[in-house]
């Protein structure tokens, strides 16, 4: 609690105790009035002062002004009708102040929580200059300098480890809680926290270009893009308060003029109207809900560029996904081995040795899948057979690895993967099937999208029909578009958009920046380091996990449903109470609930958006 909050709390407690005491003591007449006035001033002097200042600054109808009029009016009325009941005026002020205090503390606390989640800005960098470690502003470190990062510190700039071994906590960036191992030669992204060992890092980017700056820029600008709900609320607030005040005036004047009752009775109802006329519940809770939703999403590694995108995401019905790099790993891998007379291990070992010196991506994938040590001395007589493959001798045994034309006795393979034929000792030994491996999470990701009510998932790919068909079948995707050039993807997404349903496009940001920008919601995946994607996308998934698409949609839906609950609840209670008050069925106590009570409930509800 801030000092200001403590003072307010003390005032509230004193005033509350005082009110109780004055009600028990048998006080009469002028002394009672004086003591109650003192209590009223104790609890409400700042509101009265603000109201005057507001008038001076030409801010009519702000909440202080309304509260001041309502309570002073109630006080005056009690004096006029000689009821001696000054409780109402004091109580209204008391509850209003309590509500404001609570709201201020709760909002401040949750705001701080959200801000802490996003607090990845490094305050300083330790740079190695002339053999000495000096602490400087990260912005002053040049590309190519060596920075020292101790355990517990944030990595201030993107770079490559030159010395040391450690584990990195990337959770602030990705939401991934498992620490990542890092050693010399490994690339490090700024914003990670160094956990265990001392690291020397050669910087590769300036601070302004580093990941942490880009993310901060993105997050800090999020509030400038307002959602429709927020715009609606600020428009509504501009109309609501004057309208209710107008109604209050009419209520105070017209019925008694028509002879429908006493002046003071209608005046009292009008004052109650003023208490209800403050739209605080909405103007405070709605933006808070969006902040909380965006905060919750970023804790999960989902960066949302503005509340308007959170809103759009909640309405997404069609999800178009790029295949390569999004649903698949984007790199080749041996997915299956069909052996003939030799064991699989031996087949892979021989193929890897034969392909070891090739730079072809498929050859590299075979070597990577083998994973073992390559002993180049075993390979002799290596020859590249242009366009066919390689032949060589391994341990003196002739080996050929390549397409079917190279190995005459091989059976034909027909499927969606690329087949690499192997012969050992001049005889067909087996086939290695190489494909762009599907991510393990992809199937689940598609299933989850279906579960949360996405109407349709469409896979877009530049690959041929056979591969597209096989991949989409194994993932359970209902539709796919194959053989697309990068420009065709834009056309396909535009065709989907013409359905008037919200379309999200998920891509890895390579070649598809225009599509990311064109879709209702562009979602870039695994975008750490890819500037174009961060630029073009509306939502950035920090982790390379397609399941986060469904997670992001779920978070956005929860946030939007809280916003709707708050709008409907607040308005229903306010209008309900206005009607009751107008009919003379409710008093100022109900009015204060419609104002402060609703605000407290709405704020508590809004804070829920922070949790998943």
């Amino acid at each position: 609690m801030k000092k200001r909050h403590k003072i307010m709390l003390a005032r509230i407690i004193t005033a509350a105790a005082g009110t109780l005491l004055l009600n028990v003591l048998p006080l009469e007449g002028i002394l009672r009035l004086v003591l109650f006035t003192a209590l009223y001033l104790l609890i409400g002097y700042d509101i009265l002062w603000e109201a005057l200042l507001g008038l001076w600054n030409r801010r009519f109808l702000d909440e202080n002004f309304l509260m001041a009029i309502a309570t002073v009016g109630a006080f005056a009325l009690a004096v006029y009708v000689k009821s001696g009941d000054y409780n109402e005026a004091v109580a209204v002020m008391l509850f209003y102040q309590t509500g404001e205090l609570f709201q201020s503390i709760a909002v401040g606390k949750s705001r701080k929580n959200i801000a802490e989640l996003m607090d990845i800005r490094p305050d300083s960098a330790n740079v190695l200059r002339g053999g000495e470690v000096i602490e400087v502003d990260p912005a002053e470190v040049a590309v190519g300098e060596i920075i020292v990062v101790r355990p517990g510190e944030k990595v201030p700039l993107d770079g490559v480890v030159t010395e040391g071994e450690s584990t990195l906590d990337t959770s602030a960036l990705t939401g991934e809680s498992v620490p990542r191992e890092i050693a010399a030669g490994g690339a490090v992204i700024s914003g990670c926290v160094n956990l265990t060992g001392l690291l020397h890092i050669r910087t590769e980017k300036e601070f302004g270009e580093s990941t942490v700056s880009r993310i901060l820029e993105l997050v800090e600008n999020a509030s400038s893009r307002k959602s429709r709900s927020e715009k609606f609320i600020s428009r509504f607030a501009r109309v609501y308060t004057p309208a209710v005040c107008g109604a209050a005036l009419a209520l105070a004047v017209i019925p008694p003029l028509c002879g429908l009752g006493e002046w003071h009775e209608w005046f009292y109802r009008a004052l109650t109207f003023l208490v209800i006329s403050c739209p605080c519940a909405l103007v405070i809770s709605i933006p808070l809900t969006f902040f909380a939703g965006i905060g919750c999403a970023s804790r999960e590694g989902v960066l949302v560029k503005g509340s308007n995108y959170l809103e759009a995401l909640a309405e997404v019905k069609i999800v178009a996904l790029d295949k390569t790099g999004t649903l698949t790993r984007g790199s080749f891998e041996v997915t299956e081995i069909i052996e003939n007379r030799v064991e699989k291990e031996k087949l892979l070992e021989f193929a890897a040795h034969a392909e070891a010196s090739s730079t072809h991506p498929i050859a590299k994938s075979i070597v990577a899948s083998f994973g073992g040590e390559i002993d180049h001395s075993r390979v002799t007589n290596l020859r590249e057979e242009g366009g066919l493959g390689v032949t060589c001798e391994i341990d003196g045994v002739p080996v050929a690895v390549g397409n079917r034309k190279l190995i005459a006795d091989a059976p034909e393979y027909s499927g969606a993967s690329t087949a690499v034929y192997v012969s050992i000792d001049s005889e067909f030994a087996g086939i290695l099937l190489v494909a762009d491996a599907i991510k393990e999470e992809s199937r689940e990701a598609i299933a989850e999208l279906g579960k949360i009510g996405t109407q349709k998932c469409v896979m877009l790919t530049g690959d041929g029909e056979a591969i597209a068909e096989a991949v989409s079948r194994s993932l359970g995707i209902s539709e796919y578009r194959a053989s697309l050039l990068p420009a065709d993807k834009l056309g396909e997404v535009e065709a989907l958009l013409s359905d008037k349903k919200k379309v999200a496009f998920v891509g890895d940001g390579i070649n598809d920046a225009p599509v990311l920008a064109r879709a209702d919601v562009g979602i870039a995946m695994g975008a750490m380091g890819s500037d174009a994607a961060i630029e073009a996308a509306d939502i950035v998934l920090m982790k390379d996990d397609p399941r986060d698409v469904a997670k992001a949609i779920a978070i956005s839906r929860k946030c939007i449903s809280i916003v709707k609950q708050n709008i409907i609840f607040s308005l229903a209670v306010k209008f309900g109470c206005l009607a009751l008050v107008a009919a003379g069925l409710a008093n100022m106590w109900i009015g204060i609930f419609a104002d402060v009570g609703v605000m407290v409930i709405a704020v508590l509800n809004a804070i829920r958006a922070m949790r998943r």
Partner: protein, 72 residues
């Protein structure tokens, strides 16, 4: 000249109101207030007296929201 200041503002709505008001201060080319991170980004008009403009911004914001504060 663009500068970022740490600020103190209590509610999102007040932040938005303060932003609208402060944008109109003479010497301010652009201004944005981020409630969540409690930061204010001010783009000053070329050649403006920054200290003076900032004081003006603070005064304007305080008129809208009493508890507004800029850490300098």
């Amino acid at each position: 000249m663009k500068k970022i200041y740490k600020i103190e503002v209590d509610c999102a709505h007040c932040a938005a109101k303060a932003e609208d008001a402060a944008k109109k201060v003479a010497g301010v080319a652009d201004l944005s207030i981020n409630f969540m991170t409690q930061k204010m980004t001010v783009v000053f008009v070329e050649g403006a007296d920054e200290a003076k403009v900032l004081k003006e911004i603070l005064g304007t914001c305080r008129k809208v929201e009493r508890h507004f504060d800029i850490e300098m």
